[in-house]
């Protein structure tokens, strides 16, 4: 007979009311104080395209991020298809959003800002907000990193993006949404105000850090273009319907004075293909025909949410 598992396997030191960590409090969405968006809007529409660089020699450690190289080196097919997004696809997104008067918050790898300065300028010229998306897609933040190394990555990323954009850069999205236990602390210490990695809520909420409060903003992976079209092998119509159904549900649950956030995460190499971009446009048109849709940046949403907590 087996000797069984070590004793600590049946010990539960975090078995208590609330969460099993202190990063944020347990909170029930429908029981929270309602949050009013500006102008009595019901749904804040937040579009977040990502400008990413997957180096040809990427190591993929400690795991391969979505979109990583797949074949033996040199994997030209995946490298160049990701780059398609930065050369072509993003301009279809810019066009689609500009025509509809929607600003975006664009998540940018520092490497993209250095490699393609005119691309960053094309986005900031449209009034888009820049969110930091780490150094590149081969620098994943994770528990195996030393705190000093991670701090260096964050410092470099923010220095590059703040200098290149001329913006304060208040938002952060970790490559592949991967963090160490210290990432939120280091980000708050670096002047970041909101974090887009956690997919546990439909609204902003407060996190505790060594440097005070940092806010999580909802940035779901479920309805992003990569998940539905690449990972799940679904059709453009399925992607459009997912966006529409997500929006309609938030619209039903909201009211003027009780807002929700409809966040759309996009990867230009996926949705920016000629046969796919129309699905995004159709979904946006569906949303914009409703009253009370507020197209906003992450910072605008955060500021409205924060002032409503007072």
């Amino acid at each position: 007979m087996s000797q069984g598992l070590p004793e600590d396997y049946l010990a539960y030191p975090q078995r208590r009311y609330g969460m099993d960590h202190d990063r944020y409090d347990w909170s029930i969405l429908p029981r929270r104080k309602p949050v009013a968006w500006p102008g009595g809007a019901r749904v804040a529409l937040w579009v977040v395209p990502a400008l990413q660089w997957f180096p040809l020699d990427m190591k993929g450690q400690p795991f391969k991020p979505p979109g990583a190289m797949q074949t033996a080196y040199p994997d030209l097919r995946h490298y160049t298809l990701r780059d398609y997004g930065n050369r072509v696809g993003i301009f279809r997104i810019i066009e689609a959003l500009s025509q509809r008067g929607i600003p975006a918050s664009v998540a940018v790898n520092a490497a993209v800002a250095v490699r393609y300065p005119s691309l960053l300028k094309a986005c900031t010229d449209k009034g888009w907000e820049v969110i930091a998306n780490g150094l590149d897609m081969d620098h994943l933040h994770h528990g195996g990193l030393s705190e000093s190394e991670e701090r260096d990555w964050i410092t470099t990323t923010l220095a590059v993006l703040r200098q290149a954009s001329g913006q304060p850069v208040r938002g952060w999205l970790s490559p592949a949404k991967s963090e160490s236990l210290h990432t939120p602390d280091l980000l708050a210490e670096s002047g970041i105000h909101y974090l887009c990695d956690w997919v546990n809520d439909d609204m902003p909420y407060a996190m505790r850090t060594r440097a005070g409060t940092l806010h999580a903003l909802p940035h779901p992976v479920d309805i992003d273009d990569y998940t539905i079209l690449v990972q799940n092998h679904q059709t453009e119509e399925d992607f459009r319907d997912a966006l529409i159904d997500q929006f309609d549900q938030f619209y039903r649950e909201s009211s003027p004075g009780n807002g929700r956030v409809m966040a759309i995460s996009l990867h230009p190499w996926v949705i920016g293909q000629p046969y796919r971009i129309g699905a995004l446009e159709e979904a946006l048109d569906h949303m914009l025909q409703r009253e009370g849709v507020w197209s906003a940046t992450g910072s605008q949403i955060l500021d409205a949410w924060t002032s409503a907590q007072a």
């Binding site: 000797q3 069984g4 539960y12 078995r15 009311y17 029981r31 546990n200 809520d201 319907d241 966006l243």
Partner: protein, 304 residues
Amino acid sequence: MKRDPGFYNYLPWDHRPVIRWPNGARVAFWVAPNIEFYELAPPRNPARAAWSRPTPDVLNYSYRDYGNRSGFWRMLESMKRCGMRGSVSLNVAVCEHHPEIIKACADEGWEFYSHGTYNTRYLMGMSEEQERAVIQDSIDTIKKHTGQKLDGWLAPALTYTDRTMDLVAEMGLSYVCDLFHDDQPGPVKVRQGKLTSIPYSLEMNDVIVYNVNLVSPRRYADILKRQFDRLYAEGEKSGTVMCIPLHPYLVGQPYRIAAFEEALSYITGHDQVWLATGREIAQHFNANYHDAFMAAAQPVGEAP
């Protein structure tokens, strides 16, 4: 290791005692929401890591947490609108972490059965004493927080030892949801006690449909309706069981809930369907058919 788990004899679909559900229902229909808590940094079971990424797996941890903060409440409202009670497959530590969820279920008259302590603590590798301690923890915690006697079992994250079925029967449980061999309940052979397998379903389970088969919400609704239609038709001859196992972090996503509710409303809108709980199905079967099914089953031959 065994070549056959040895839990049941062979009982072909076309040679069985006829099942009649209460009030002439054709299908005993039950919904089993899995109310779970996944730990951020659990101790490692030698046979399986809790997370696919290194600790902290922020993406996967927060995805599960979504179910408790947001998805559950959406799913609850949909079920209430359809007049459907849940049979909660419960990681019992949720009683301590999120008592508000337990209360919301209890207020609607839902059943609670055990899905282990946490979904990040697995049974494999446990000694008999350890496994008994886990089952006893479930019995005590559910009794303390809900007043209910624990009757059902679905092993945490579908992890087992060879003793699991014997132990839950010996400790007074009457049904398990871990066996996927049938569309009707059936006896489970155990050392002592009387144990029944109730059809739960991986095919209808939102984890399999969404995370493994990667289908769209509207397609899931079609799958649920097609499954029900056939079981309803066949149930005229002998009662069948349909279960929808749910996970609030999946079915409770905003873009999925309306399609689910539409399918649920379709099913509950039929006349000859028994809107049941796991416990009610097990009690009816144990009282009326368990022994007859046991007697009708054929011994299994020894494979060469």
